[in-house]
Symmetry: D2
Subunit: 185 residues, 4 copies
């Protein structure tokens, strides 16, 4: 099959989305994260599907990538990394509770919650974000499309305004490397 | 194939190992864990191979299983659950550092470290246990065979004195359910 | 707290459950697994909560533990190990489909399906088992309590007849090591 | 802190890297993958650190994302998804063998191996790629920097020629969504 024209069209949209990133919003989030690192606060992150892989990847880049040299290290935790707990909650209580549940064990006021969601409307992420707010946590949405509910309720947002799930996920991953690379250099 | 006689021999050894459990040492560890729960201290757990699955399983049973009803919940974290970080450390620094590394991000004095190891000698678990001790953490070894290095250096031990890796792992899993069941009832 | 009496009661029940294992049913399953190994058939395994850790642990013991020396190796795959896929299915389709979905990608007639479930009634495991049967797979239930739906429909069962979720999970883990140890020796 | 200028510089480099993608090489890989899907061949994928998350994410997008509608589905498997097996191999044999080992259980001639590596030189990925070639598999390198050993030995390559690990990883993730989006539309 010949796919070149369609590949090019996707990449054109990708570049447009990258150019549309609101850098002030990224800088704002970087300052929130750096403050958490310096003050020893935890940063919880989660998402569904591909965004679960993205959330796991953020942990690696902040906990290992840019924490290796410094005195004060990042303390990220991805809320889908303990599979047995997630599946026990999904099976016994409901899939919409898989992220809120572990926050009740782990989150303290002042800690950070990052929700990653293309639509900004993932029920389980929204539930966890609301809980985080209710106990005095700081909330960050990393969203696509119109930003959904999460854009409305999060304290900070990085919103990629594009109606394409794959481009949203691409740029959410870029945001990780963008922040960690600049913080490291 | 006919396996019945060998199956029976394995189970006889299993029952002997279960009967040999030092219940006072289990009770001691339960009191350490309960104190951590009540004081809001974190409990880190890790192991290699099958013991990594065991460590993940402990998190589920304490964070979800017996934390569902109560006000003060357990805060377990399994140090191999974030695969990207573990593999970044293994690849860039060395497999022997995969558990010590994240403790530097996450562990505070007073927190608990549990190492699960059949031999009691897993290099990466021992490294993490030494680090935990060095910063004022409380250390627990869940070990088999002769107990190895971990039995020497841990503050508390549950030692299944059996020269069989599979029986060791079986009883290490039983210890999890044994503790959580009794705490729950 | 003093827990000794309750710990002892739990272990008494454990030993009783171990003694009640139907060794003929274990031998039968071992012969099914060995035939799959020799014929190059895949073996899928899954469970919820702690049983997800158990399912992951089985893969390690068969794919690595007893496959290291031989010419023909086991080919186990745990259906919750790819977290992004599982969460994409749970989020977009429903948690009850997380195990059936990947079987449609991966399972061929003649392959084996093992469902691990304390109750024997986990909806997502039952759905996958029914699918496996419908395409000509061989199905194995590893169950506790009364055995539930899975005991009715599976081609082979290892049933631990005990009304205790923790004892069920303990013995399901013992069954793994029991089978692999005897096959290895 | 003010990061805007550095953020912009990173994104400029990102866009340059995206524009440098050799679309013919992407198309070639898409045709290899489609042929594997139609012929029922397996596709194994692996990487270290962040690239492990990338490899897991590919599975989700091909096995679920674009397999949902069709008759013939993709059959991807990420070689670091079963954590106990990976850690058993790393601990008992060596971290350089964690990907080659499971291929010996699972790969058949005609199956596909995809290695994801920024440097193209990850020892464990290279070992697995060499094994895949030796048994008559088809090999694909998804690499950055100079492409390293993997570019030399892989049958097909998608090479992002950029001396930046983060940009490499970003574009490796984009390649996933790029391929699956175009195949789906």
């Amino acid at each position: 099959m010949n796919y070149i024209a369609k590949l090019q069209a996707y990449l054109d949209l990708e570049i447009e989305a990258i150019r549309s990133i609101n850098l002030a919003s990224v800088e704002e989030v970087m300052n929130v994260l750096e403050k958490a690192r310096i003050n020893g606060q935890k940063i919880f992150i989660c998402g569904n599907g591909g965004s679960a892989a993205t959330a796991s990847h953020y942990c690696c880049d902040f906990n290992k990538g840019i924490s290796e040299k410094g005195e004060k290290r990042y303390n990220f935790e991805c809320l889908s990394d303990n599979v047995p707990t997630m599946m026990a909650v999904a099976n016994d209580i409901g899939y919409d509770e898989v992220f809120r549940f572990p926050l009740k064990n782990k989150m303290n006021p002042g800690d950070i919650f990052i929700g990653v969601s293309g639509s900004g409307n993932s029920k389980n992420v929204v539930n966890a974000m609301k809980y985080a707010k209710s106990i005095g946590g700081t909330t960050i949405g990393i969203v696509g499309f119109s930003g959904g509910v999460m854009k409305e309720i999060a304290d900070y947002n990085i919103h990629i305004n594009v109606n394409n799930m794959q481009i949203s996920e691409d740029v959410h991953m870029i945001i990780d490397h963008l922040m960690m690379y600049v913080l490291d250099h």
